[in-house]
Amino acid sequence: MPAIKVEGLRKKFGNVVAVDNISFDVEKGEMFGFLGPNGAGKTTTIRLLTGVLIPDAGNVTIEGVDVRKDMIRAKMMMGVIPEMGDVYVDLTAKQNLVLAGKYYGLPKSALEEKSEELLSTFGLYDRRKDPVRTFSKGMKQRISIACAIIHEPQVLFLDEPTEGLDVQSRRLIIDTIIEMNEKGSTIFLTTHNIEEANRLCERVCIINKGRIVAIDRPEILRGTFDNTQSVEISFDQSVEGDLFDAEFISKVDRFGDKLRLYTNDPDRSVKHVVALANERGLRIVSMTVCGPSLEEAFVRLTGGEQ
């Protein structure tokens, strides 16, 4: 039995179809990435899966429990970090955790123990009595995650959990997600950060305009587009991209002090670049041949190049 089973899910807002007949399974203990451009239907999907919204059609089951028919039981098994789900800024850090624990019916002793343990884990124990309004965005997000995992859920939904956070908070959150997954929780992760999804997820699903356009392991998706290999090169001085025009180089992009030459023939491209560098007296600082990236696959699949 899959941890999350989605069948023919559909949701309309007025004339706009936000989610259009999507189906997929997430296995128990899997870390599953859900990617898509802005407005693709990611947040609506997560709201449908977590019982916040009621679908127009289709079914969702969490650990075999139908979300529509037995919403409360399904919610008891989930932890949710909503995209816009801020914590209560008028309450202290500890009060927020205790409130969440009470909703999940934790007994008083466990509530006390678990909230203090999580506050320590997230480096907020010393600030436990401070109102959350005095916290930074990263600290608020740590409280948000602590609230979602206080009952050790079987399935954890995270909607853009690391968006706009400082490095320290991001790492802490990623480590927590990995730890939860290692303990057996199924993770459903929505993110804009394709590299993060590539690094963390066993499978990713790409959604665009409410429809699933691809669902597979990141490496397989990357390999779907063989012709998107590139040579990334940096010189000791600025160089115009059109210097490298050649029939086997399809596009040149600039990234900071680096140029990325997209090609279907890396061997000829490297030789071409080296020859040009010698001819113009340019010193090569670094050069890397890159395979097709998940980001490239994402852009292609969601029509971002058009």
Partner: protein, 248 residues
């Protein structure tokens, strides 16, 4: 199991509301200061028989306090971005609504009890039927807390908009419910309007509890308040569900 989770959700939601919203400015202004100012404006400095007008004032205090918390909560939570988190907990919309009603009713109950105590101690107000008075307070607080939650159901994210809207609805009610003009003196359109105001039945019940006289049989007042409560809750549930996604 389902019932205990539901009840727990209602209590935890009410507890959360009490901690966060009781000391918010709109609740203090619209729930406490307004009825106090109304009392000063209409009763102070005039030769008024308190035994005649106290039931009306008590009903007005209860009405304003019990209905002041409900309109604030949902718009505030939507604006603060906490509503989606709340929905992600093991609660339904009805759980949230009843938690909001409970918080509003308790606020009304506390303030009304304070007003009642002050009146008995300092204004020498007497009451003839304490159990009936107690029942009226309980039914009234639940009814008007439900009314307050109903006022929060339009889909706006700004608490100030909903507080203005709720004042627009609440103020006219106090003029058509026998608070300033006793029901026995109302006639024509005024009387018809009084019949459709839930506050009328609370004022009447307070009259029965405090002075022993009432325009309707007490059973009618009780039934009317219960019926209005059910109607408010049903409509609030329907509208809150319909507007759930708006402003998330």
């Amino acid at each position: 199991m389902k019932e205990s989770v539901f009840l727990r959700g209602v209590i935890v939601t009410a507890e959360k509301n009490i901690r966060i919203y009781y000391n918010k400015a709109p609740v203090i202004i619209f729930g406490l200061l307004f009825p106090l100012f109304m009392f000063f404006a209409f009763y102070m400095g005039r030769k008024i028989d308190m035994s005649v007008f106290f039931p009306g004032f008590l009903a007005m205090a209860l009405f304003f306090t019990a209905s002041s918390v409900g309109p604030l909560i949902t718009p505030w939570e939507k604006q603060a971005g906490t509503y989606e988190r709340l929905l992600s907990y093991p609660v339904s919309v009805n759980t949230i609504i009843l938690g909001d009603v409970l918080a509003g009713a308790l606020f009304g109950l506390i303030i009304t009890s304070v007003v009642m105590t002050v009146a008995v101690l300092f204004l020498e107000v007497a009451f003839t039927a304490p159990i009936l008075l107690g029942l009226a307070i309980v039914l009234g607080t639940i009814c008007f807390a439900s009314f307050g939650v109903l006022l929060a159901s339009p889909s706006v994210r700004s608490p100030s908009h909903i507080m203005m809207f709720s004042s627009l609805i609440r103020f006219p009610l106090i003029f058509i419910s026998g608070i300033f003009i006793p029901l026995t003196e109302l006639e024509g359109m005024g009387l018809i309007l009084a019949y459709i105001s839930p506050l009328t039945y609370l004022v009447d019940m307070f009259n029965a509890g405090l002075t022993g006289t009432s325009a309707f049989p007490v059973a009618v007042d009780i039934l009317a308040l219960m019926l209005f409560t059910c109607v408010f809750l049903l409509i609030a549930s329907k509208f809150h569900k319909r507007n759930l996604a708006k402003g998330l």
